[in-house]
Amino acid sequence: MIPLKWEKRLQEYLKNRETWMKELYQTGNVWEGRRKFLKMASMAAGFAATQSFVPHSFQLVDVVNAATPETKPFTFAYISDSHLYEKTLNERFVRQLERAVVDINALDPQPDFVLYGGDLAQLAQPGELKLGAQILKQVKAPIRMMVGEHDWFLDLGDLWKELFGKPYYSFDHKGVHFITLMSVNEKDFWTAKGLSPMQRMQIVSGLDDGRQSPFEVGEEEREWLARDLANIPKTTPIVVFSHSPLYKLYKAWNFWTDDAEQVQALLKPFQTVTVIHGHTHQVLSNRIDNIHFHGMLSTAWPWPYAPQGLPKLTMQMNRPDPFNQTEGLGDGIIDVLGNGRVNKRYDLWNRNPLFVSAQYLDSDGASDVPAKTTLSSY
């Protein structure tokens, strides 16, 4: 059952979102702009055919644009980083994941699918993963699963794979090529030290535990990725899901993927690439050349911003209030635009939603700037 206050807030979200989308189209949304442009171009072509007058430069641009396939805008939602313990140990984290499920199920219209961003469990215990699977079954829209390090390092993914399938895969949806990566592989730090699976899991579960190795996609998976991308036209929009940010932010907390540059190199030939990542539990935006990066919110707890390496395009979310235990948490939606770029909405549970648009990242922060924080991280 949705509490009444929450239901009201949800209505506000949806209303805000509608207004925002309308405004976006009016103030030069890229997709809308291109649609108008193409319409004008075709009119010009018609004019040229009858009048034997060729607006040369116009046609040239038209060709470039025609090579970009238009995708039909659509929306998908996300829930991430729930870090479940068994219910007898910690009921709060369970309730919070359930809240996110209620949240997403209340979206109208429903998203095309829901991404689960990894770290469903806290210590990869069977009781935790199975509880998570059971709760996620209540999600009405189809769900796409991604694995996080907290789901993995007890049995190196055995149970997770049994419950949810392959840890990395790709699929196509409405003209966009989606890739889900398993980006939290770690080089073996446990065998030499003679650690038990549980000790290994506990070390990895400590964000600031320096005894672990840095995250990486790894060679085998990068080869798979190269093969997967080989037959995809360079104009097809690509959206990559990875648990860790696919760039190097802050190594001490594994806000980091060690082979990020190699993965980015594979994505570089594509015109439009977006990476949606978990792990960082905060509003986080970045752009590296053609690649836009967006973080996801957690349903368990928020992380502080890293003391170094914060991308300049990140507009920090307000520092969470420790007296309110659902502060800085939430879920959200991702609007895929006609050009394959995405607008990201962070639905923070106790605050107004925060928008980070494709236009903001495309313009390198010059336009459509998100609301500024009033309480920055210490």
């Binding site: 313990y85 992380w303 003391p307």
Partner: protein, 238 residues
């Protein structure tokens, strides 16, 4: 006695009982008692000086109790006391002590403050030896390391729901000890860092709060502050 009186009486009894229990529990958590030595025996005619082991005594002939020793006299007395103590020790203990004593003497020759910009020949002489600095650092590091352990271990902290401090505060980030004391309306008082630590223990971690002087509380404060070394003090900042 009617029913109402009976209820009143039992409420008072419960209140009294619980306050006694509370007092006892607070008392039990109080500061750690350090060992004390019984006073050295004296015939009242001469001064008796006792070594810090609480056992080795020396009667100083010709000096009455309450009289002050000159620093030369005191040095002689302390040397004699140490010689007595050493004679009582097993060989390996005595040897280890001699070795340590020698190192101390050597290192006290070169005093090098860790917080000075540079130690040139024109600097004023410093009373602290390398050994002093080493000892201070070792002691502090031990306290910080213990705090680090508690900060990262939900069980050691006394959490009942698996939530440790580091789960929201990696490397004690966003704990901002430099902003205390500050008024916290939720606590209805000017809060110190330890009040917020206790708030976190009781709420997100669902544990029992620590006595302000509990060794765990002291260690947690030490760890948190050590992480913010060099930060500008800003009491009252929100």
């Amino acid at each position: 006695m009617n029913r109402l009186q009976l209820i009143k009486l039992s409420v008072i009894a419960i209140c009294l009982l619980s306050s006694v229990i509370f007092y006892q529990s607070v008392k039990a958590q109080g500061p750690v008692q350090l060992p004390t030595h019984p006073p050295a025996k004296s015939d009242g005619k001469s001064l008796v000086v006792q070594l810090c082991d609480g056992e080795t005594n020396l009667e100083v002939k010709g000096v009455k109790p309450g009289e002050r020793l000159s620093s030369d006299q005191a040095q002689v007395v302390s040397n004699q006391l140490m010689a007595q103590w050493l004679a009582k020790q097993p060989k390996e203990v005595a040897e280890a002590w001699m070795k340590e004593n020698l190192t101390a003497k050597e290192s006290s020759k070169v005093s090098q403050p860790t917080n000075a910009v540079s130690a040139s020949t024109q600097d004023q002489p410093i009373d602290f030896s390398v050994r002093d600095y080493q000892m201070w650092k070792k002691e502090l590091d031990q306290e910080v390391t213990y705090g680090d352990q508690i900060f990262h271990d939900d069980k050691l902290l006394g959490s009942t729901n698996g939530v440790s401090c580091a789960m929201c505060h990696p490397h004690a980030a966003n704990t901002h000890p430099e902003t205390y004391p500050k008024f916290q309306i939720q606590l209805r008082k000017v809060a110190l860092l330890r009040d917020m630590i206790n708030w976190c223990i009781e709420n997100p971690s669902r544990g029992a709060k620590l006595h302000p002087d509990d060794p765990k509380m002291r260690a947690l404060e030490a760890y948190i502050m050590a992480q913010r070394k060099g930060t500008v003090m800003e009491p009252g900042k929100h």
